[in-house]
């Protein structure tokens, strides 16, 4: 479904992403972890069209989309959420989600109905009329997911949708991601919260200084000495044991 071939992105002298290759198949739930500045969000920005790769190819369903703008990539079935949420602050939750639905439903009434369904799925029903700006952070993260879902993606990129949530909110969003995955959505998830990631992802890629240092099942990743050294640290391993 999505293939990265030796993707590189540089900013001046800094190489934020170097030679990253990966393969995402239909139905995957891939996790991407790594310390701050490892290049996770940069990689998302390249995949979703916000940055043009300096080298390498991004293939979406066999088509090279490197350099295509985000709206074209969205229409090809790939969209994303933002780590720093970007709600349409002055609009209602319903209008936010409806704007996503309008991408494939040109009629406003149809898009509004679709938005209501998506909002209910994401547990935002009671807040449909609220201004997006007025929502607490946990609900804003959900709104990011709802708005992206309304475009009916086949592949969804989630950039730290769990960061900053309390345990209840966290449980809710993990359940939501599980359900979406069970319904057939393919996902790539960036996350810092290891415990949640271990339970969620089938496969994990570890980035460090812009390079892939490990890839595998969660249990393999936690035993990998390079990952422990670069990211998890001894304490994590002891705690897990």
């Amino acid at each position: 479904m999505l293939t990265l071939e030796r993707v590189t992105k540089r900013f001046g002298g800094l190489t934020a992403v170097r030679d990253v290759s990966l393969e995402v198949r239909e139905g995957d739930l891939l996790g991407i972890i790594g310390p701050n500045g490892a290049g996770k969000t940069t990689l998302f920005n390249v995949i979703s069209g916000y940055y043009r790769p300096d080298a390498g190819r991004v293939l979406l369903a066999g088509r090279d989309v490197g350099g295509e703008p985000p709206h074209v990539i969205c229409r090809l079935g790939l969209t994303r959420t933002f780590q720093i949420v970007k709600p349409f602050g002055n609009l209602s939750v319903l209008d936010n989600v409806m704007i996503g639905a309008l991408t494939h439903l040109p009629r406003v009434a149809a898009a509004r109905d679709e938005a209501r369904r998506v909002i209910d799925t994401c547990g935002l029903g009671p807040y449909a009329a609220a201004r997006a700006r007025a929502l607490p952070v946990g609900l804003r993260k959900r709104l990011e997911v709802a708005r992206a879902l309304a475009t009916r993606p086949r592949l969804l990129l989630l950039d730290e949708v769990m960061a900053g949530l309390n345990p209840t909110e966290l449980g809710g969003i993990v359940a939501l991601i599980r359900r979406l995955h069970a319904e057939g959505l393919t996902l790539i998830v960036i996350e810092h919260i290891m415990a949640a990631m271990m339970r969620l992802a089938r496969r994990i890629v570890v980035l460090h200084h812009g390079e892939t240092i490990a890839e595998g099942r969660p249990d393999e990743i936690t035993r990998d000495p390079r990952v422990i050294d670069a990211y998890l640290g001894e304490e994590f391993v002891l705690a897990e044991a």
Partner: protein, 317 residues
Amino acid sequence: MPALAPGRWVAVALFGIVALVPAGVRDAYLLDSVILILLWGALSAAWNVAGGYAGQVSLGHAAFFGIGAYSAALMTARFQQSPWLGLMLGVALSIVAGGVIGYLSNLSTIAFSQVLLIVASRWRGFTAGSEGIPVPFRPGFWTLGLGHVAWVYLALGVAVLYYGVAIWLETSRVGYQLAGVREDEDAAEALGIASRRLKVYAVTLSAAMTSVVGTLWAQYVGFVDPFYVFSIDLSVRFALNTIIGGIGTGLGPFLGSLLITSLETYLRATFSGMKTGFAGIYLVIYGTALILVVRFVPEGLTGLAARLRVRSSRAHA
């Protein structure tokens, strides 16, 4: 069908009253005020398409106003053609200029209006330079030589049309997508919206709408002066009418124009008879009114109305 929002009823009432004015009023001074309020309202509504709905605040929209005014004035005075041809030429030029400016940056409209001012005031052989161009009055619809009553209806027609554009931007797919772009371009892109293209379209539409009223204004007033039609004051006024009335709302630009134009006309008439020392005092009062509105009702008159409505419905509950 959903019930009409309160603002729509106010609009229906306001435009309806204006439509009836010529039946009872023959006073040229009053009709003149009505025409100017409608034209200023339409100009502010045109500005609102870019500044309000697309979030592209421009302080150089006089450029498009001047293009419309000069296109028609030159067409009639130099080439003895119909001002309607000038109107179309102005629209065509404004679409090109608006498109380029929308693509570059909306800040460049200020520079653009100043460049046009220099060209218009120095190219004496063609534009008559800083002397300006008197627009010949030839009676007839084709030549836009109309009486006050006809002008009321022409200006009203344009005002209603522009109000309709605003309603379209509030209820259509394109309008919602534009709202998304205004709120956050990157997020809109992720949802499949071609942000930049949509923004350019909005600025272009706004430019063309401004140019149309520029033409009408020049034909109505009968004189085109480069230092007026390309001035930053004029651009600021489009913006202020809209902000005072309620930015990003359909009715706002017309309410703002109603308030500011009548206030200005009244103050000017009241103080002009006094000693010369008071000649400019209307500007002071005008400025004070502006500061009060921006300080206490930053969301504009339409926002104030909504606030009062909420309060009274709470009181009744």
